[in-house]
Chain length 181, copies 2
């Protein structure tokens, strides 16, 4: 089970925090020993797209850790003030400079080990003009037989690509949920 | 835009935090003025189920704020160490004491205003034995024409119920995504 226990001080008063189970709760929470504030830690969403142009898909080569130099779909942490789709579009613009039409949610992948949920939307590229941002070394379109399978950064990218090509062969795109264990 | 700015002290060292835009970022983050740690604030997932038995659905009357006394689908904040479906099942047991078979993800509803994403799974009740927990006043099965529409706690519950009954009339259940604005 994922228990980071990374909180040492209260964000309200700066007091020392202890991990203990509050009344009416059933798991340890970071609890301020000075003011009593309880600090919850919860999973985070990573939102992104699978951009495609005719029979090719867009991948970005990462310019940041982790997995610098490996290929990924454009994605990143969802921010406050945006929907899952808005966040996915923002990351696609920031990392690839791509112009896309957002289509439906394609995959929801639980990565419980690291406390994350990854959500990828299909996105139709409106042109092939790309302008990678500082987090990306290069952005490139790949046909199915050109995908650098040995240099894919994350298992959620790999899973989403596999499902995309499988659905394309079957002739219809569905929504897929899976656990990455 | 949802900007709580609720962090006053660093959770690593207890030092004072200032909201400022870090280099290579494009929005203000809570940054410790003592040790430099950056504290990110991100949306949270609420996970739950729509449990059904023949032509009736299960609702819980809330025994906690907010919206104490109003009816809701069993749901709560996703925890670390569980998948979205595992969290939804846990909440269904905790709040209703219901025994269910989990089916597919039914709705993904962005509630951007409060920084939340609500995910509801369809769940087949295996029996009608219910044992509401302390957060629930009572749990009850309702036919479509018995739903207390004027006493529903949350718009995501209402939307999920509406989509369920619409899909049932159409004869097939899909996956639905929507923004609650």
């Amino acid at each position: 089970m994922f228990t980071p226990r990374s909180i040492k001080h209260c964000r309200a008063c700066g007091g020392e925090v202890r991990y203990q189970t509050p009344p009416d709760d059933n798991r340890d929470r970071a609890t301020c020993s000075a003011c009593g504030t309880i600090h919850y830690e919860n999973p985070l969403n990573v939102v992104g797209t699978l951009p495609f142009w005719e029979d090719r898909v867009l991948l970005c080569r990462r310019n940041i850790e982790p997995r610098r130099g490996l290929w990924t779909l454009p994605a990143g942490f969802m921010e406050l003030g945006e929907s899952t789709a808005e966040g996915a579009l923002r990351e696609t613009v920031e990392e690839a400079g791509a112009h896309v039409e957002m289509l439906g949610l394609f995959t929801l992948l639980n990565v419980t080990r690291v406390g994350q949920v990854h959500l990828f939307y299909r996105a139709r590229l409106l042109d092939t003009d790309l302008a990678p941002g500082p987090e990306t070394i290069e952005a490139q379109l790949f046909g199915e037989d050109e995908i650098p399978w040995d240099e894919i950064a994350f298992r959620t990218t790999r899973k989403t690509l596999e499902l995309f090509f499988a659905d394309r062969r079957s002739g219809s795109f569905g929504f897929h949920a899976a656990d990455i264990t």
